[in-house]
Symmetry: C2
Subunit: 216 residues, 2 copies
């Protein structure tokens, strides 16, 4: 059964389920919640991949895109099998409409990352252009002796304190996407974040030990 709460689950965990497509009894509502979560994460990841030219993130987008295909298949099967009355059918039909929209969004994200298959010379102004949009995607490097080190994302309350969301973290060779509140930040991490200027400046300054996280 998929975790409905992206925040506490994180994305690493989710991937292992549904290795092959088949009917697996599960809850339509949880499937839809996961689909909505993924549809939000995947576009951010797709833009990050193009802006910073990071193939690992593009790979994650491809995996999420194929996971979405499976989730859509799963939710359709589950809804059909659970339908007993006309009322059931009408209710599930609305749900499937949202599910299908979420899957379309993930396909659009998949189209975006296919840009990485073209030569980098052919997309010279795209990175800066995509960054111009009003909520900005950027990188923060956590230095070795950062005050951020050994703190969890939840403990720092990053998003509510700064308006900045951490969408991916590179720890050594490994990437984490949509990190959970319980994720521990460490020196050497590279964070891909999304958010407004002021919060970004504060979070970066804090990571670099130059200031507190709050606006004092």
């Amino acid at each position: 059964m998929p975790a409905a709460d992206g925040k506490t689950g994180g994305n690493m965990k989710k991937r292992k389920r549904f290795e092959e497509i088949g009917y697996e009894p599960t809850n339509v509502k949880e499937l839809l919640t996961e689909m909505k979560d993924v549809s939000e994460l995947i576009t951010d990841l797709a833009y990050s991949a193009v802006i910073f030219d990071i193939k690992d993130i593009a790979e994650e987008v491809k995996e999420l895109e194929s996971r979405m295909d499976k989730l859509l298949y799963q939710i359709r099967l589950t809804a059909m099998l659970a339908t007993r009355t006309v009322e059931d059918a009408e209710q599930f039909s609305g749900l499937l409409q949202v599910a299908s929209a979420a899957e379309n969004i993930s396909n659009a994200a998949g189209d975006i990352i296919r840009l990485l298959d073209t030569k980098i010379e052919n997309r010279p102004f795209l990175p800066s252009l995509l960054q111009k949009a009003d909520e900005k995607i950027r990188i923060i490097s956590v230095p070795e002796k950062s005050p951020m080190s050994d703190k969890t994302i939840g403990e720092l309350n990053v998003e509510a304190e700064t308006g900045v969301r951490i969408i991916a973290i590179r720890k050594g060779e490994r990437w984490m996407y949509d990190p959970a509140d319980s994720t521990i930040l460490s020196g050497g991490d590279m964070l891909i974040v999304r958010g407004v200027d002021d919060g970004y400046i504060r979070l970066k300054g804090f990571a670099e030990g130059k200031r507190g996280l709050n606006n004092e």
Copy 2:
């Protein structure tokens, strides 16, 4: 020429241009930036419309969706007319790929709001379900004598202070979508916001005069 900066422009302004489709010389980059901005706003608005059953927001989604069709048409024309060399063509092709993805996202948002055409009894659990996703969309009512009154969104630095983004405001009978930093908040306003719990609680408490905006 479309405003590239959603933040300072706001959405009311953008709508008047392109009443009919025709070639209008403009900048490919600015068109794409607007398309990306709209693709982000429109999904939030679509989910809000369904969660709170607000037809005005659904109407705005429809207008943005049709604006996106026009923007896509415009960017294709502009790119083709600006192409002189094979290199130009290769660069524009990447750009058009992102433009097309943004337009697909807006179509998905359009599919979501078409749920409002079905009877409300047929989508009883969808609102709560969509709210369960990790970043939440909710309503804040600004009381008549709120400390928020007569302040601009930029002055309060709402998003960077709380992690909460104001996606729409109802002022009397009138709706504003994607309000600019210069928008003045007033008693009686209804805000549709998107963000994490902690920030939402703070912003709501502040609106109601029960606490400061910061986490002191």
